[in-house]
């Protein structure tokens, strides 16, 4: 018998205080209850999917897709193809915990750290998040700008469109509407699959790489560590924890919805892994044709470099995919910042089920971050390439701290009851934390030593 049973659902008592957020959420929950009562499984899944697909496809963002492309262009489809699949499996383990904690506690990640571990750790986590989100958001605007430059769109218009997208999608005062708009846009992440098909990879080589992890990478050790840490940062990052947990709460997931939440996360994982591997496979054409990939991250690099190899249509799709990757990530990363800001500033409304007037701070953080990132990108002389290269690394380095808190929360019987982590989940969680820590710190130390030796020479 469990010492900490999860409370069973009871009716809402007469006299209960109701807010506009409750009313909005109750409409969504009513549809879920009706689908469950009438055993309409496909409809139930449709109603409960969202946070998992969004978080995974949102993480296939500008720097992530460039990171996968850089892996393929530098090392071909050897070691990194199965490695990307493994990092997505790790992302599934971590994100399933986030979803479960949100569904059981009805509180966001930032909120729980603040309340359970006190303001110091709460503020630390929120500061880490805001810092990495700001840098990542800059790279998302860069991705949109670079993608649109391929089609001749001027930078100011491209950045304006990216920021306007965040503002427009946030204006409905309904979580459901925001989520469906973001999901519709996120599906265009699969454009990278079309690009990969156009690059005509050898099925035999793909299977061989997935099974044998060969050929192994050769060349500079620092270069290998950079790509390795970037790929980890491309799939497991702090904003994902904040986002999925808070979005699950905003959507109104309950413990009964955990199986569907798990399936939502699994579908998102599969789609994102497919698109990520596709970006690697598409860019591996450059490796096969011995194209120097060192200078391709800047400007419209990859799309233009692929043009003579896969045609104008294929390279155009790559550029479109990059625009989509940046745009969707702008929505999800801005949202994760807004949730975190609202959660750590206790009492402040933080939900897409509120109007701008009801939750001014939430919307100010959501749209303000996007505007700020847009302004930075338009400043002449900003080291945009260097920022893009280092965004994922920063996420990898800050991730261990976030993971440790997630593991503590997922094992906290006082709030999770019987839905704490299994021993197997804890083992995988600890392994993931160790892998992320080793990858991030190895790169940091090697890069630091190399920068010292460059200085000395």
């Amino acid at each position: 018998m469990n010492d900490f049973p999860v409370p069973t659902s009871t009716a809402i008592a007469e006299g209960a205080v109701l807010t506009p957020e409750d009313w909005s959420r109750s409409h969504d929950r009513m549809r879920v209850l009706q689908a469950r009562q009438t055993s309409q499984r496909p409809k139930l899944l449709w109603l409960l999917t969202g946070p998992g697909i969004l978080v995974m496809l949102g993480e296939n963002d500008g720097p992530s897709m460039l990171s996968y492309a850089a892996s393929g262009a530098t090392y071909g489809i050897g070691f990194f193809l199965p490695f990307i699949v493994v990092t997505f499996l790790a992302a599934f383990v971590v994100q399933e915990m986030s979803m479960r904690i949100g569904a059981v506690t009805h509180r966001g990640y930032g909120e729980l750290i603040f309340q359970r571990f006190g303001p110091f750790w709460g503020w630390m986590s929120a500061t880490d998040l805001v810092l990495t989100n700001l840098i990542t958001l800059i790279t998302e605007v860069i991705a949109v700008r670079v993608g649109m430059a391929f089609f001749g769109v001027p930078p100011l218009l491209a950045v304006g469109c990216a920021v306007a997208l965040v503002a427009v999608t946030s204006s409905g005062a309904r979580y459901w509407r925001w989520e469906r708009m973001a999901m519709a846009l996120a599906l265009f992440n699969l454009l990278f699959v079309a690009v990969a098909v156009l690059s005509r990879p050898s099925p035999g080589q793909l299977v061989n790489a997935l099974v044998t992890w060969t050929p192994l990478p050769t060349g500079s050790f620092q270069g290998f560590l950079l790509i390795l840490a970037s790929n980890i940062g491309a799939t497991v990052t702090p904003w994902m924890l904040f986002f999925q947990q808070s979005a699950s709460v905003d959507k109104g997931l309950t413990p009964k919805d955990i199986p569907q939440g798990r399936l939502d996360t699994a579908i998102g994982t599969a789609l994102a892994a497919l698109a990520g591997c596709a970006a690697l496979v598409a860019a591996s054409t450059l490796f096969v044709h011995h194209v120097d990939s060192g200078s391709l991250l800047g400007g419209t690099g990859y799309a233009e470099a692929l043009q003579p190899l896969i045609g104008t249509f294929g390279s155009g799709l790559f550029a479109l995919g990059l625009i989509e990757a940046g745009a969707v990530a702008m929505l999800t990363i801005s949202a994760s910042t807004a949730y975190a800001v609202g959660e750590v500033l206790g009492g402040s409304a933080h939900s897409f089920n509120r109007t701008i007037r009801q939750a001014p701070l939430f919307y100010a953080a959501n749209i303000g971050m996007a505007v700020f990132a847009g302004i930075i990108v338009l400043i002449p002389g900003m080291p945009l390439l260097a920022i893009t290269l280092n965004a994922n690394l920063l996420a990898t380095i800050l991730m261990p701290a976030a993971l440790v808190f997630l593991l503590i929360l997922a094992n906290d019987r006082e709030i999770m009851g019987a839905r704490v982590n299994s021993r197997l989940t804890n083992t995988f969680g600890a392994l993931i934390a160790l892998l992320v820590t080793l990858a991030g710190s190895s790169y940091a130390i090697v890069a630091f030593i190399n920068s010292l030796s460059n200085k000395a020479s």
């Binding site: 659902s9 809402i12 009313w23 929950r29 309340q115 750790w121 380095i397 006082e414 940091a444 630091f448």
Partner: protein
């Protein structure tokens, strides 16, 4: 928080609001949870991890700045 309503028996939307679980209401989730009792070893481990993360961040920022043209 901006309460606009209190649930009363016979409220026209009583069935709708009952679609939520009681602990899902904003009025309930706004109540803070009790603090987690971290023992000294766990607290020290969290501090060590924080210092480690800051140190690694400093190394990456240094390498980033040095690599700028």
């Amino acid at each position: 928080m901006q309460p606009i309503d209190r649930l009363s028996h016979g409220h026209p939307d009583e069935e709708l609001i009952q679609a939520l679980e009681p602990d899902q209401l904003v009025s309930e989730t706004s109540k803070p949870l009790p603090r987690y009792q971290l023992n000294q070893i766990a607290n020290a481990a969290l501090w060590l991890l924080r210092i480690f993360v800051l140190l690694m961040t400093a190394l990456v920022v240094y390498a980033f700045v040095k690599a700028l043209p």
